[in-house]
């Protein structure tokens, strides 16, 4: 019998090496890509098998890697690692199959080999992070992940937008690594070793606070919650869609994994830490979805939605840690279960949505929502799968998003009974997030896929090949399975929960009843659809009735900006408001344009502003540094004179004067 961890390692090596054979082949050889995808699928099978066994296996199968420079490094597999490993392997292998149709090597010879190489490395490095039990192994994985993700974001380096997104990503990724350097250095001084093992001793308050703060900055920059999300929308929109699926669905979760692992390392975090995470999660959820709603680029909209979902995940974790710190075990269990299940769910439906959006982009060549429309009749599979993903991400009943949001809701309601009343105030916030997400995804799905095509490109769109549809169908099926039979995931959740010391879900969560309700809804809808099948088949076809308006035009349809405008009104305080059009004046007004895209409040508002200040400061300093040797000699002379002046005993001037004064 092979050890589960060996299977996972084999998967990681296969994944990391999947792009290598392509380097020895001709640039446009399609076999390079096929081999990469096959290796990745193989890696996925081995990895998922190993991690599935790891979830239910004994928690501490660790072994030592010979690494003389640091005296050996440890890796290990426990249910928490295995829980995060499954989406890595699943999404990576499905996305690489999708890439066969989306980014064919024969058509994109310049970038395809690079894409496969770094895609594989990214997957492999994430496995290393999840397995690491030693700070250096963790940081090695973290840095490899950051760099390979950077190359994926900036893959199309001939486009300025991608270069800019890549640069911002690189800066944020390294700020994150820097914070983690600090975190692990402090960890070494607190625990006496670079090994990652739970620290049961009590840390002094300030040391704990600094440790948590550094972890929050380091892992938060990777998870991308507000206000550390600024690099995320640009990066995820710029990358090719299958890479966006991996970046949004899985790479962000490494930040969450880091926070979860930190909670495992420090079993005695204070209550304020849980409260902070809960508040940050609520903020991130609300503003993330508000910003998503104001986007018109379908991939940017999805990227901002990741900020929202990370917020929901963080709310679950905050609730759990609040429960742990205050000894309320049911809050601990429900919050953590909601958090972890949402990690899986978000990986499934966000990848599904990115792949679906990619399919639409592939068919029409544009990411702008307002240039799409009517794709449901031209690309029925893509549209149906995208809408399934949209229902799931809104947390609506028959699909998986509802189950994880339900667990967090239930935890918050339980908190009310258990005396954590402040936490219950997150309930209306979560409700508002849900309603806003619904508005956002009705907009995205409705404007892109429903109605009439708004441009000739959308009119000519063709359905994507089966290699792109099949991975999406697998993801949608998994969303449906978790939604209809949440009982199936309860054992995996329990195993991961016990790893962090939380009680099992058991009777806390009504998984069976949720499954019954979801199945009843779906069944009832199917029965009604069957009953309507005959009248629909016989229906007379006519144009849409436009209230007597004689010549309706596709451009008169509600666009993404008009749909979102009224909702954006209530978030005007947070969103950088789009420019209002000027009033047209005169009988023959001049040409006027309106841009309704809103920038990011953190990146375009705060960060760019402060960096511009920094730039002004540097420009001022630049005056003194012109590269003229004479000037530098002058500076040296001035410095010497100043030093000489400083060494004169001005301080003793008075006694000296007294000594030499008149007698």
């Amino acid at each position: 019998m092979i050890e589960p961890i060996s299977l996972v390692l084999a998967g990681a090596l296969l994944a990391a090496a999947s792009g290598l054979p392509g380097l020895f082949m001709r640039r446009a050889n399609p076999w390079a890509q096929r081999i990469a995808a096959a290796l990745m699928v193989l890696a996925g099978l081995a990895g998922i098998w190993g991690s599935a066994r790891g979830i239910f296996g004994p928690p501490s199968t660790s072994f030592e890697l010979p690494w003389p420079a640091v005296g050996g490094s440890l890796i290990g597999l426990d249910p928490l690692s295995a829980f995060f490993l499954i989406p890595i392997f699943l999404i990576a292998s499905l996305s690489s199959v999708y890439g066969l149709g989306y980014w064919p090597q024969a058509e994109k010879p310049r970038t395809a080999r690079r894409l496969q190489l770094f895609f594989g490395l990214l997957a492999g490095s994430m496995v290393l992070i999840a397995l690491a039990r030693h700070a250096l192994a963790f940081l090695a994985g973290w840095e490899t992940m950051a760099l390979s993700a950077f190359f994926l974001v900036g893959l199309e380096d001939d486009r300025p937008e991608c270069r800019k997104a890549g640069l911002v990503f690189l800066v944020a990724a390294h700020a994150s690594t820097l914070a983690l350097f600090g975190f692990f250095a402090l960890w070494r001084s607190a625990s006496g070793s670079f090994e990652l093992a739970p620290l049961y001793g009590n840390l002094a308050g300030p040391a704990m606070a600094v440790l948590l703060g550094l972890g929050l900055a380091g892992f938060g920059l990777k998870a991308g919650f507000m206000p550390l999300h600024f690099w995320l929308p640009g990066a995820h929109a710029a990358a090719p869609s299958q890479a966006s699926a991996l970046l949004s669905g899985v790479v962000l979760k490494m930040g969450i994994y880091g926070l979860a692992r930190m909670a495992w390392l420090l079993p005695a975090t204070p209550a304020w830490w849980g409260g902070t995470l809960l508040a940050l999660g609520a903020l991130s959820g609300l503003l993330g979805v508000a910003l998503a709603l104001s986007q018109h680029d379908i991939k940017k909209l999805l990227a901002y939605h990741s900020v929202e979902n990370i917020g929901i995940i963080l709310m679950g974790m905050g609730l759990a840690l609040l429960g742990r710190a205050t000894g309320r075990s049911e809050l601990f269990a429900l919050g953590l279960a909601g958090c972890l299940l949402h990690v899986w769910n978000h990986a499934l439906f966000k990848s599904l949505l990115f792949l679906g959006a990619g399919s639409a982009v592939h068919a029409t060549g544009t990411r702008s929502l307002d240039a799409l429309g009517g794709l449901a009749r031209r690309m029925p599979w893509t549209a149906a799968l995208f809408i399934a993903g949209a229902v799931a991400i809104c947390g609506l009943p028959p699909l998986n998003g509802f189950v994880s949001e339900f667990l967090i809701y239930l935890g918050l309601f339980k908190g009310l009974a258990a005396g954590a009343r402040g936490a219950a105030l997150a309930v209306p916030v979560l409700a508002m997030i849900g309603a806003l997400a619904l508005a956002c995804f009705v907009k995205a799905a409705g404007v892109a896929f429903l109605g009439e095509p708004r441009t000739p490109e959308a009119e000519r769109a063709k359905e994507s090949p089966a290699s792109m549809i099949a991975p999406m169908a697998v993801l949608a099926a998994l969303c449906a399975i978790i939604g209809l039979a949440p009982v199936l995931v309860a054992p995996a959740l329990d195993a991961a929960l016990s790893c962090l010391g939380a009680p099992a879900l058991g009777s806390l969560a009504p998984m069976r009843e949720l499954g019954i309700a979801s199945a009843a809804t779906l069944g009832l809808a199917l029965v009604l659809a069957l009953a309507l099948a005959r009248p629909i088949a016989r229906a007379r076809l006519a144009p849409t009735w436009d209230c007597g308006y004689a010549r309706p035009d596709p451009r008169m349809q509600y666009s993404s900006s008009s749909f979102a405008r009224s909702v954006n009104g209530i978030f005007a305080w947070a969103i950088r408001a789009p420019k209002e059009p000027r009033k047209l004046q005169g009988a023959f007004p001049a040409a006027e344009r309106l841009e309704a895209e809103s920038g990011d409040p953190v990146l375009d508002g705060a960060l760019m502003h402060s960096f511009r200040g920094l730039e002004r400061l540097s420009r001022f300093c630049h005056r003194f540094q012109r590269g003229l040797a004479q000037k530098y000699i002058l500076y040296i002379l001035i410095a010497l004179m100043l030093l000489a002046l400083a060494s004169l005993p001005f301080g003793q001037a008075l006694p000296f004067g007294q000594a030499g004064g008149p007698k």
């Binding site: 449901a376 009832l524 007379r540």
Partner: protein, 302 residues
């Protein structure tokens, strides 16, 4: 027991819900000094629509049909978590109020998507408004549940709606008013939306279903009647002492509550006009504040 509960519920929903629309219309007619259509008129209307043949727009896809279907399916499942008269909820569990709220969300998703599927600007406008107002109605509903949960220390709708002896206190009244506003919003009644308006620009729900006809419109009408009944029975549960005086009186309370609230809606609709669109958010924010204050009062006292 459970099977019986499901059947009883289905029978009541199917048989009694259109009557409430009749009651509202009759009240409005009487208040305006007219004789009005007979109480059973909505039954005739729905039956006529269901018999008709179907006309579909060439623009639409399967989503257009999914709107009415999701609307009906979700309201039926939502009714299963609610106690009806003396009959207990067949699907009661801790946290079922979240399922209740989110099933309405599911119905809203497909109704608004179906509206966008027609490609008509008017329907898009209705969908946008519906999605916007839901962003304020949803938190109000969940805050009301939070307050009720704090009051009864129960996590299930059946427990929250258990009648408690004693005089109604302030937070309770606040929750009831807040829930009534949510009920008006969810059912598209005046002052949020006017179901009888003839001007497309001022419509919300009616605008979204402009293109639905025949059996599809029949389903939409039927589902909205059921939604009215479900939300009214929720509110009636709070207003009357259910489960104290025996099963028959409970049925009477349910009937009295549902018809009574429908009559109140009718009187309200006869006495005031629809709010301006930009005023509606203020009313809904008012509902949030009412339910939120009730929650703070209850949680502070507990």
């Amino acid at each position: 027991m459970t099977i019986l509960g499901v059947l009883v519920r289905l029978a009541i929903l199917l048989a009694c819900s259109p009557l409430l629309l009749g009651v509202i219309n009759k009240t409005k007619a009487l208040a305006a000094g007219r004789k009005g259509a007979p109480l059973v008129q909505p039954y005739h209307d729905i039956a006529k629509l269901l018999r008709k043949s179907l006309t579909l727009s060439r623009t639409t896809s399967w989503v257009f049909v999914a709107g009415p279907i999701a609307g009906l399916a979700s309201v039926i499942v939502a009714s299963m978590v609610l106690p009806f008269g003396p009959s207990k909820a067949p699907l009661a569990f801790g946290g079922d109020m979240i399922l209740f709220a989110y099933l309405f969300g599911l119905s809203r998703f497909f109704t608004t998507a179906a509206a966008l599927d027609t490609g008509s600007a008017f329907e898009g406008m209705g969908a946008s408004r519906e999605a916007f107002f839901a962003c304020l109605a949803e938190p109000a509903l969940l805050l009301a549940f939070l307050a009720l949960s704090a009051r009864s220390s129960s996590l299930s709708l059946s427990g929250m709606l258990q009648s408690r002896p004693g005089n109604p206190d302030m937070p309770f009244v606040l929750v009831c008013v807040g829930l009534f506003i949510v009920l008006l919003a969810e059912n598209c009644r005046i002052p949020i939306d006017d179901p009888t308006t003839h001007l497309e620009l001022t419509m919300i729900h009616e605008a979204m279903v402009l293109d639905h006809g025949g059996p599809l419109l029949g389903l939409v009408e039927y589902a909205s009647a059921m939604k009215l009944l479900v939300l009214e029975s929720l509110l009636a549960r709070l207003l009357f002492p259910f489960g104290v005086h025996g099963a028959w009186l409970d049925w009477a309370f349910l009937a009295l509550g549902a018809v009574g609230i429908a009559a109140v809606i009718g009187l309200l609709e006869s006495s005031m006009a629809r709010l301006k669109m930009r005023r509606v958010p203020y009313l809904l924010t008012g509902a949030i504040l009412l339910c939120g204050s009730a929650f703070i009062l209850l949680a502070g006292a507990a």
